[in-house]
């Protein structure tokens, strides 16, 4: 690039730099072509350009380039009204994908079990409540937080984040169970019969997890739940189907509500345990 003999007037350069629409198209195009070859005019134009405007423009471009990729779940949470920061904190956890995988596997298990038994509703009622618990447990596994131990020593770590993750993952699992209910043809089972044990088991896992590793808490509750349901059905008599057994009837539901309240009370009382890295590890 070399300078040419002709140079644009200072007035033309000023108009071009501040508001190019003031110049007719032909002159603007001509000047633009000239500037490519003329270092002197390029240096003159710099004097008329608002550098803060350029800096701001560059900052906006850099910000868009640097902006982390938004996952569909993050977008869903944000568009549903959740502040962008919280949406990212919740959606970024690998536990969310783990919970999704668990949900799909669980639905498949329920479908297979349902095909093996005539008591489809019974199979659904036994296994469906375990799903939200597994999803919540996946989100609280020590590997679930992308920031690892460094994230523990931050102001937003702890109770508030734990509650939000639980609500998102537990709620998501409940939606999947609803879809599974349709898929396995167990329609007709009262919603309370599976939602209440789902909530109680998920809350129970969190409550027990303030003492035990999350895997141990979940394992204990899975075993306890299956034993309880089978034992109650055996006491009811083998001619009674699982769906009609006391566990899922009114009396059982009241007991489930009591267990749920107890678990929530334990979580609230021991909520400080969520502040350190020791919980669930």
């Amino acid at each position: 690039m070399t300078d040419t003999d002709w140079h644009a007037s200072d007035e033309l350069i000023a108009r071009f730099a501040t508001d190019p629409s003031n110049i007719d198209h032909a002159r603007a195009a001509s000047l633009e072509a000239h500037l490519v070859d003329c270092a002197r005019c390029r240096s003159q134009i710099n004097e008329h350009v608002d550098s803060s405007f350029l800096d701001d423009s560059w900052a906006r471009i850099a910000d868009e380039i640097d902006r982390p990729h938004e996952s569909p779940i993050e977008r869903l949470l944000r568009t549903s009204g959740m502040p962008a920061g919280w949406a990212r904190l919740i959606s970024a956890t690998p536990g969310l994908r783990g919970a999704g995988a668990i949900s799909v596997v669980a639905i498949l298990i329920v479908a297979v079990l349902s095909s093996l038994t005539t008591d489809t509703a019974g199979a659904f009622l036994i296994f469906a409540p375990l799903l939200p618990m597994a999803a919540v447990a996946a989100s609280f596994h020590p590997t679930a937080d992308p920031a690892g131990e460094a994230g523990v020593a931050t102001p937003l770590h702890g109770w508030a984040l734990a509650v939000r993750r639980t609500l998102v993952l537990g709620g998501g699992a409940l939606v999947l169970i609803g879809l599974a209910e349709l898929a396995v043809g167990a329609v007709g089972v009262p919603i309370a019969a599976w939602v209440l044990p789902s909530l109680a088991l998920a809350a129970g896992a969190l409550a027990l997890g303030t003492w035990l590793r999350i895997e141990a808490a979940v394992g204990s509750l899975v075993a306890g739940w299956v034993v309880l349901v089978c034992a109650v059905r055996w006491l009811d008599g083998t001619d009674v189907s699982f769906a009609d057994s006391t566990t899922f009837a009114l009396g059982g539901r009241l007991c489930t509500v009591a267990a749920l309240v107890l678990a929530v009370a334990v979580i609230v009382v021991r909520r400080d345990r969520f502040q350190t890295m020791e919980v669930f590890t």
Partner: protein
């Protein structure tokens, strides 16, 4: 007011005593923690960083008890923490990871947050790699990403657990330079096995052995513990506590020198090894 006070801190993991009644204050400046593996350094740093609760004792940071919710929140707003084994979401880029931690640190405004993320990544020399996935970065680069997240917001209390592990000599030098400027006016607690890092960086060194503080003072005071106890010879003295062959082919020895021994000026490492050796002797030959 003392910036960080540790009083009567105790922590056990089953039968293992990690910390045993530790009392210590930390003032602004770089404080190095030395000690063998299992001495309690990481446990002490985790408790001061509010990542772990002690069995007994308390930590006060900037006048607030961190065992209370308010005190813990106030402390977390003023601290940066590099754990010994930082966990990474490997699908994150370096930028995504530091941005994620910045959100956890209440940087709500996206533009300000991204500016800060770029600043700290530049401080550790990762401008060009900031958009690479963490899984594609070398171990040293990952360490620098972890250091960057600890520097977000120029924290008043910077807790670094073995920050130079995995860094090559040039990166370690750069880290020393960075810490000297980035941490000016802050309290830095730095755990390391590198005694030369302590000698080069720290205003104060604390030696932890078996969960107890056995020394607290300047690096030169630690080195002075070994004055008259370090000598070199052509062969190993059977009475020396510790001995090793140097690059020059001489045997450097620590302990009670024989008469006429060729005494040498001790280093921080000599002072530390002397302390650690005494502790090992005490374990092997407990007092009746």
């Amino acid at each position: 007011m003392t910036a960080v006070q540790v009083k009567g801190l105790a922590k056990r993991f089953g039968p293992v005593v990690a910390l045993d009644d530790v009392d210590i204050d930390f003032e602004p400046g770089i404080n190095g923690l030395l000690g063998p593996n299992g001495a309690g350094k990481t446990t002490l740093l985790r408790i001061v960083a509010t990542a772990m609760a002690p069995d007994r004792g308390r930590v006060e940071a900037f006048g607030a008890d961190v065992s209370t919710r308010e005190g813990r929140l106030a402390a977390r707003r003023n601290l940066g923490y590099l754990p010994q084994e930082p966990g990474f979401h490997r699908n994150f880029s370096a930028f995504d990871f530091v941005d994620y931690v910045a959100i956890l640190k209440e940087w709500g405004n996206r533009k300000n947050r991204h500016d800060e993320v770029r600043r700290v990544l530049s401080l550790v020399g990762l401008e060009r790699e900031m958009h690479k996935r963490i899984s594609q970065l070398s171990g040293g680069m990952r360490r620098r990403v972890a250091i960057a997240q600890a520097l977000i917001g120029n924290p008043q209390l910077l807790i670094l657990d073995e920050p130079t592990a995995g860094l090559d000599p040039e990166q370690r030098l750069r880290f020393r330079e960075l810490l000297g400027t980035a941490a000016a006016g802050s309290i830095v607690l730095l755990s390391t096995h590198q005694t030369d890092d302590v000698a080069a960086l720290c205003q104060r060194v604390v030696v932890l052995l078996d969960g107890r503080i056995t020394f607290s003072g300047t690096p030169s005071a630690l080195a002075e513990l070994a004055v008259g106890r370090v000598w070199t010879a052509a062969t190993r003295d059977p009475n020396a506590d510790l001995a090793w062959v140097t690059g020059e082919g001489r045997v450097r020895q620590i302990g009670s020198p024989p008469s006429g021994a060729e005494l040498v000026a001790p280093t921080v490492e000599d002072g530390y090894l002397l302390l650690a050796g005494r502790s090992a002797d005490a374990l092997a030959n407990p007092a009746p």
